[in-house]
């Protein structure tokens, strides 16, 4: 009797477990079409948006009615639609979490919780390794599943969507044909999600895959409902291959090490008092070679930045061994993240309008990298030198207390701006004697003209101009009628 009871109880536990066990994912039930309409703001006329465009990609269905896509798929989206490949049923979706740097976004249907209930959610497989055969999953336009096998070749820390954000990416070889204009493709290994294919070169037949390990990191971060983002060390470094330099630093032959050439304020390294001139020898016991790589058990030599960005979370402790003035030292560091919006010059700007404020036709904006990129593909040589310099060395301005760099982007010819029509791309220092440290300061200062005039000071020529405050107010009212809004401060 007793034995029987035990047997029953075992069965009693195991049966529900069995029924909860996920059915393996399949192309037509686990991959979903994502159609987005996107429209970004016009940075030259920040009160308006540019032309809209559409993008079609594929998302991976995840448990709890979520869909994973690349951030690229949904940036500046005005309308997102999920479409089932088999039935062509559609639902409107929204972005729950997006990380532009990691290039990942999580979507869910709006007002239709059951929309995805007939789908088979993916499980993640984070154990990719070289020579693995994986499949890119997609459909023909008519909904017929198409799978293409590709072979994993190597892992590398590379930039994906944002210039400055580098993450582990996996390369796979083999021809992949894009069907129905797909932009992002789920990649499966044994019917589990191994990553998202984010780019493919038809010339070399090489696919770049954002691996499941990064996706897992992203999803874990979303679990508590508050997304923090990937931590950053906040240093610039150089290699230590040069023998003379190694001798000078008193670096041991067997140690590798990277030389810290700059420490960025507000990030992890600065908080842990790591200094320019230190040599980082190891992180959490993993030695860093003189090129800046550590030995990854799966991918071999990988940039040590993966130890920070790919493996650890914001708030995690980290043991860093450094060499400072010839002495080895262990530093306990707590990883923090300096958010993109804390930078003097916004590295990217999505899903929001650029901040601006107009006074009588003078258009003030916060300088951002997207603004610099308006100067064309060769913006790094064509954009105004002072602004490029501020981008390269923000500490020049940050130490003056500036949170943002406010510039006069252009001048709309109005009766108030007579004689100033040609002024543009000037760094603003003060308005009505108020130091301008962000766009809110412009708005604040605009309410305090002295003797009926606004006094505006620039860093460079012509240094000083005045506007008639009463007339400017009237022009602003007229402009508002014409262009809708004359400021956006948030």
């Amino acid at each position: 009797m007793k034995n029987f009871f035990i047997l029953l109880s075992v069965l009693g536990i195991s049966i529900p477990l069995w029924s909860e066990k996920l059915e393996a994912a399949s192309v037509d039930k686990s991959v979903i079409r994502v159609n987005t309409t996107m429209q970004s703001y016009n940075l030259i006329q920040p009160w308006e948006k540019g032309a809209s465009s559409t993008r079609i990609g594929l998302g991976a269905v995840l448990p709890e009615g979520k869909v994973l896509v690349t951030a690229q798929m949904v940036t500046d989206a005005t309308y997102i639609e999920l479409e089932k490949p088999d039935t062509a049923a559609k639902a409107t979706a929204k972005v729950i979490t997006v990380d532009y740097e990691a290039n990942l976004a999580l979507l869910e249907p709006i007002n239709d919780n059951d929309f995805l209930s007939d789908r088979l959610p993916f499980e993640l497989d984070t154990k990719l390794s070289p020579k693995d055969k994986v499949e890119a999953w997609q459909f023909e336009a008519n909904g017929t599943p198409v799978t293409t096998q590709i072979t994993v070749s190597k892992g590398e820390v590379r930039q994906s969507f944002i210039d400055t954000a580098r993450f582990l990416q996996i390369q796979a070889n083999g021809p992949v044909k894009y069907r129905s204009g797909s932009f992002t493709l789920p990649v499966a290994k044994n019917k589990k999600l191994a990553g998202l294919l984010i780019s493919y070169s038809s010339k070399d037949q090489i696919s770049n895959i954002l691996p499941a390990s990064i996706i897992e990191h992203f999803l874990k971060d979303t679990e508590d409902g508050k997304y923090t983002g990937f931590p950053n060390l906040g240093i610039m470094y150089s290699q230590t291959l040069d023998e003379q330099f190694r001798n000078y630093l008193k670096l041991d032959q067997e140690d590798g090490g990277v030389f810290v050439s700059k420490v960025i304020e507000g990030a992890s390294a600065a908080a842990a008092n790591i200094k320019s001139g230190d040599v980082i020898l190891s992180i959490n016991g993993k030695g860093i070679d003189s090129r800046g790589n550590y030995n990854d058990p799966v991918w071999g030599k990988l940039s040590f930045s993966h130890l920070v960005r790919g493996k650890a979370f914001t708030g995690d402790p980290m043991k860093i061994k450094i060499l400072r003035e010839g002495q080895k030292k262990e530093i306990d560091l707590k990883l923090i993240r300096r958010p993109a919006e804390d930078y003097l010059i916004d590295p990217y700007m999505f899903d929001r309008g650029p901040k601006f404020s107009i006074i009588g036709g003078l258009v003030f904006q916060e300088l951002s990298v997207p603004f610099l990129k308006l100067f064309g593909n060769d913006w790094k040589s064509r954009a105004p030198i002072k602004m490029l310099m501020a981008h390269a060395s923000p500490e020049m301005y940050e130490k003056e207390g500036r949170r943002k760099l406010v510039i006069l982007t252009r001048t709309i010819p109005t009766p108030v701006t007579l004689g100033y029509e040609r002024l543009s791309t000037l760094i603003v220092t003060k308005i009505n004697d108020v130091p301008i440290n962000d766009i809110q300061d412009v708005d604040k200062a605009a309410s305090m003209p002295a003797n009926g005039q606004h006094r505006i000071e620039f860093e460079s020529y012509p240094k000083l101009i005045f506007l008639d405050a009463v007339l400017a107010e009237r022009v602003n009212v007229a402009l508002e009628k014409r262009i809708g809004i004359t400021k956006r401060l948030k």
């Binding site: 610039m236 150089s238 291959l241 040069d242 003379q244 330099f245 001798n247 000078y248 030389f259 810290v260 050439s261 700059k262 320019s276 001139g277 790094k380 040589s381 030198i385 002072k386 490029l388 310099m389 390269a392 060395s393 108030v416 701006t417 007579l418 004689g419 100033y420 003797n451 005039q453 606004h454 006094r455 460079s460 020529y461 012509p462 240094k463 000083l464 101009i465 005045f466 506007l467 008639d468 007339l471």
Partner: protein, 496 residues
């Protein structure tokens, strides 16, 4: 007056014209007869040696060109500075005389593109009457341009009308602005330095034109006020250059701007945007001041003054002065009128942006690293794109960089050797310190490197936390090896 702006104007010296020359002997007698009234107009042939800023230890590249000149007084010929720049040998040829006569430079003024030459043996021009210098010609009057432009060896004459009097950039240095007269006579390479004649007198020196794809029929000549100033400046045997107020101004058109500065809406006064502290007006003018009058002449809100019945740029007053001269300024500051006297002088920091001539490039070559002071020639020769350097070049004056670093020393190139094999990423950087000594001039680099102290030489670079480190013990052998390998005869040249 200096301008930081790039000019599209091209100088018109026929450089390195190697075209086959048509020597038709049969016609020469006839030609001499016909052209004898032009015998004060000469052809100038210049063999030049253009400095090699990429390999500054080399002597340079041989080149040459020809232009025109004219007799201004006994054995004194005037031409453009750009005709005889970087000169090694100069020959003057007379109308109808095949013999070249060796000439030398007496004075050369790059800032106004004029030069004075003389013959080693003046006898060939005995009895030739020099030209007289006339006045500023009126608009819409006819002038003749005489010279030796491309298309042949013999004298050529074109004519046109005076189209415009303006204050423009002289492209020879590209930073100097002076009075200029635009004419619609054809001015071509080789015309440079030639006289522009009206009523038998010289009223200008042909010197530059727009290239054909930008504008048509726009030739420029240096007018007589500039020529006279040059002749007066060299009277004491030295050329002392133009002087400068060293300030930037902003037109006072906006009514609010005028009101805020306490000015009536009468179209008088121009705002001072900035005055260079080390310049003539430094400590006298400040941002937000209004210049009401200069030497008693009202300054209009667009920066023009009335001078000899014409509206001319207010700098015309300064243009005709010499170093040490004093001008009077009427300044409006905080609703009060102030009279100030300004002693005029040159402002050398502007020259960083000027094209330079007749200068041997300075450098220090150490362990294969080549250090050179930053200027326009260097930027052009090395095709420098580094943001850090472009910023220092661009803001040298406006951000007062010149005060902190009179010379910006650039690591321009590296002669590869085992001692510097990991240094290639450091080219086109600015040297901040050498062994802890802040670098302000090329001499500083040379002296700091020469000091024999410590095991390492540490060269820190601006904007890069990673210094260049060289083991001192390896230096001597490397220096010898590199000099031999790359044929660097002298490892430095610091100037005279």
């Amino acid at each position: 007056m200096k301008s930081p702006f790039f000019s599209f104007i091209i100088t018109i010296c026929a450089c390195a014209l190697a075209a086959a020359q048509d020597n038709n002997e049969k016609d020469s007698a006839h030609q001499a007869n016909n052209s004898s009234r032009y015998e004060a107009v000469v052809r100038i042939e210049n063999s030049s040696l253009n400095p090699d800023y990429r390999n500054p230890w080399n002597t340079g590249r041989d080149s040459g060109g020809n232009g025109t000149g004219w007799l201004v007084s006994e054995n004194k010929f005037l031409t453009n500075a750009h005709v005889v720049s970087n000169s090694r040998i100069i020959y003057i040829k007379k109308v109808g005389d095949a013999k070249p006569y060796r000439a030398r430079i007496v004075h050369i003024a790059h800032d106004c593109d004029l030069a004075m030459l003389e013959l080693e043996d003046p006898s060939a021009f005995k009895g030739v009457t020099p030209f007289e210098i006339g006045k500023l010609p009126q608009l819409d009057t006819t002038v003749k341009v005489i010279g030796y432009p491309i298309g042949g060896e013999r004298i050529s004459i074109t004519s046109g009308v005076v189209s415009r009097v303006d204050f423009l950039s002289y492209s020879h240095t590209s930073v100097d602005l002076h009075l200029t007269i635009q004419i619609d006579a054809a001015i071509n390479p080789g015309n440079s330095g030639g006289p522009v004649i009206q009523n038998g007198k010289v009223v200008g020196v042909a010197f530059q034109g727009y290239s054909g794809n930008i504008a048509q029929n726009t030739g420029y000549m240096i007018p007589t006020p500039v020529i006279r100033r040059f002749l007066k400046d060299v009277e004491d045997g030295n050329y002392d250059h133009y002087v400068d107020l060293s300030m930037s101004d902003f037109p006072l058109i906006n009514p609010a701007q005028r009101k805020a500065l306490g000015l009536a809406n009468d179209g008088i006064g121009i705002m001072v945007a900035a005055a260079e502290e080390d310049g003539s007006a430094g400590g006298i003018l400040q941002t937000g001041d209004v210049l009401l009058a200069i030497d008693g002449r009202s300054v209009k809100s667009n920066g023009l003054i009335n001078y000899e019945g014409e509206d001319v740029n207010m700098n015309e007053i300064v243009e005709r002065k010499f170093a040490g001269d004093v001008i009077e300024l009427k300044i409006w500051r905080q609703n009060k009128s102030i009279d100030a006297k300004v002693t005029l002088k040159r402002f050398l920091p502007y020259l960083i942006a000027a094209k330079k001539y007749d200068e041997k490039p300075r450098y220090v070559m150490f362990s294969g690293l080549v250090f050179q002071p930053l200027d326009r020639n260097l930027m052009a020769a090395h095709g420098i794109k580094s943001l850090q350097i472009r910023y220092h070049f661009d803001s040298y004056v406006s951000a007062d960089i010149y005060k902190d670093r009179p010379e910006i020393i650039v690591l321009t190139s590296i002669l590869p050797d085992s001692i510097n094999s990991y240094f290639s990423n450091f080219t086109h950087s600015i040297v901040d310190e050498v062994n802890g000594v802040k670098v302000k001039t090329l001499k500083d680099v040379h002296n700091a490197l020469a000091k024999d102290k410590g095991d390492y030489i540490v060269i820190s670079l601006l904007g890069n936390g990673r210094p260049i480190v060289i083991e001192r013990a390896k230096v001597e052998a490397a220096q010898k090896r590199i000099q031999e390998k790359y044929n660097v005869i002298n490892d430095h040249y610091l100037g005279d």
